[in-house]
Amino acid sequence: MFEAMVRIQWKACRHFVIIFMLAAFCLPIASVHLGWKGEATNLPQFLAELELWGWFYPVLAAATAISIAILTWRSDRRGRHIYAMTLPIDRSRYVWLRLAGGALLAGPVLLAAWLGALVSVWSITMPEGLRSFPIILGLKFGLALLLFLSLAFAVASASPRTLGWMYRGLALLVALHIGVALLWPSVNIALTILSALATAPGPFAALGGRWMLIDV
């Protein structure tokens, strides 16, 4: 059943997976080679540019995960879940198979990023004092991909009723934020929540920092 599920998902999102694979392969190569001028490379400038390029990795991971999650569940939504309900499995197992299939489809993108990082590092002579991190960067990219995939699947697999609750919760939060900001200007609820998410032990804390393929 898992094989059939993966085949259906592959058909639904193969174009995007291929595009993201190409992007993931080219990103490390482009980030290194656009600033690399051999012996004449201005290393501080090169590293500063590489750091800016690094922000594309989490963006690419998020775009890949969201695309796979949406495209995976599109056919179910379009067919009003009739096909899924005819299968002799319960809902949680069905979602698990979908999620596992999504993770499998994200695999080639991760592999492409890894290969691209290795190729870009091998293609230059590393100057003394600098180190390359293709494996660690690939691991970070893979973990980011998994995190975004889980989040995107949690939203995409939610029933209309659950989604309704989510929207209402979000609207309530916005209203609360505005109300509190009007009454007590020094209290910023939205910023507090965002800070909690972006700092340890929040889910996005580890995605911050430097996404450096080459560093000191």
Partner: protein, 315 residues
């Protein structure tokens, strides 16, 4: 033998009760003078004085904890670089409270502003133009500001030959050992064949790129910046131990390469090898992802996935 006994005798005589009492009275008198001078500008009730080694910190009640925290940081950091050397005058007095400008010029009453005054602290005249405002911030930041100024003042005692090589001593911080925080990054990313050779371990190239070959003209494309030259001097001072600063001052007039070697107490090549090795030890252990990050991401990803699977409904 008689000479030895007579010499010992005069030494013991200097420690008589009368001499000790005189010293104690002199110290007490100085402390009273300090308190009197301070009371002319501020109410005595708000003052608190903590002192150790070269530093006397005077604070009001609001800044008492910060002053004590700073004192704990200042003295070891000062001793690490300057060893047993004395500061200018009888010591440094650091005011950790709102300065007179708060009263006379209507400054920001909430800002933690401080002044560092260098000079004789036992008369009212010590509030002179050498007082420097060190700015606001936490105890560590303020201690670093003070150390920066102390380093500047101490370096002023160096002669012009040293200053032609290094105009100003780099920042001394409370939380670094013998290297400036950004020194490794500059060392590892500097351009130019000579500097890359120094990085790779060729000490002769290090001598050239640091301007330690007699020629002190600085070609920016070939030579290391002043901050790295300062790092070499700091390494010599820190690793040179107790009397390193005194040796640096005493060696005035000699070539800079000799002075650095004398300060450290080893040959110049060995000093440069130590400096290079010390800088390379500053290499960050984790740059992209730590084990904690891996665990955090794995836990969150699996936690959200489990919630998504378990909480999903058809309608």
């Amino acid at each position: 033998m008689w000479v030895l006994i007579s010499a010992l005798g005069s030494g013991v005589q200097a420690q008589t009760a009368a001499a000790f009492r005189d010293s104690a009275e002199r110290l007490a008198g100085a402390a009273h003078a300090l308190r009197d001078s301070l009371s002319r500008a501020w109410p005595v009730s708000i003052l608190d004085t903590v002192s150790t080694g070269e530093f006397t910190l005077v604070s009001d009640a609001n800044h008492r904890i910060m002053a004590k925290q700073m004192l704990r940081l200042l003295e070891p950091a000062f001793r690490r670089v300057f060893g047993s050397a004395k500061t200018i005058g009888p010591g440094l007095r650091v005011n950790v409270f709102d300065p007179p400008s708060r009263f006379f010029r209507g400054g920001d009453r909430h800002a933690a502003v401080m002044e560092l005054t260098i000079g004789a602290w036992d008369t009212a005249d010590s509030w002179d133009a050498s007082g420097t405002r060190a700015g606001g911030g936490d105890g560590v930041a303020l201690a670093n500001s003070i150390l920066d100024l102390v380093g500047y003042r101490m370096y002023e005692r160096a002669d012009s030959g040293l200053r032609a090589w290094l105009p100003r001593l780099g920042a001394i911080t409370v939380d670094s050992d013998s290297h400036a925080p950004d020194a490794f990054y500059e060392f590892a990313t500097s351009n130019g064949l000579d500097r890359r050779d120094c990085l790779a371990g060729r000490v002769d190239r290090c001598r050239e790129t640091l301007g330690l070959t007699g020629d002190i003209t600085f070609d920016r494309k070939r030579r290391y910046s002043a901050s790295l030259r300062s790092d070499v001097l700091l390494t010599a001072l820190v690793k040179g131990g107790e009397g390193s600063f005194a040796r640096l001052v005493a060696s005035a007039g000699r070539p800079i390469e000799d002075r650095l070697a004398t300060t450290r107490g080893v040959s110049l090549d060995r000093l440069l090898a130590e400096w290079r090795a010390g800088l390379l030890n500053q290499k960050p252990s984790t740059t992209v992802l730590s084990l904690q990050d891996v665990l955090l991401l794995a836990v969150w990803a699996s936690g959200i996935a489990v919630l998504a699977i378990g909480g999903s409904r058809w309608i």
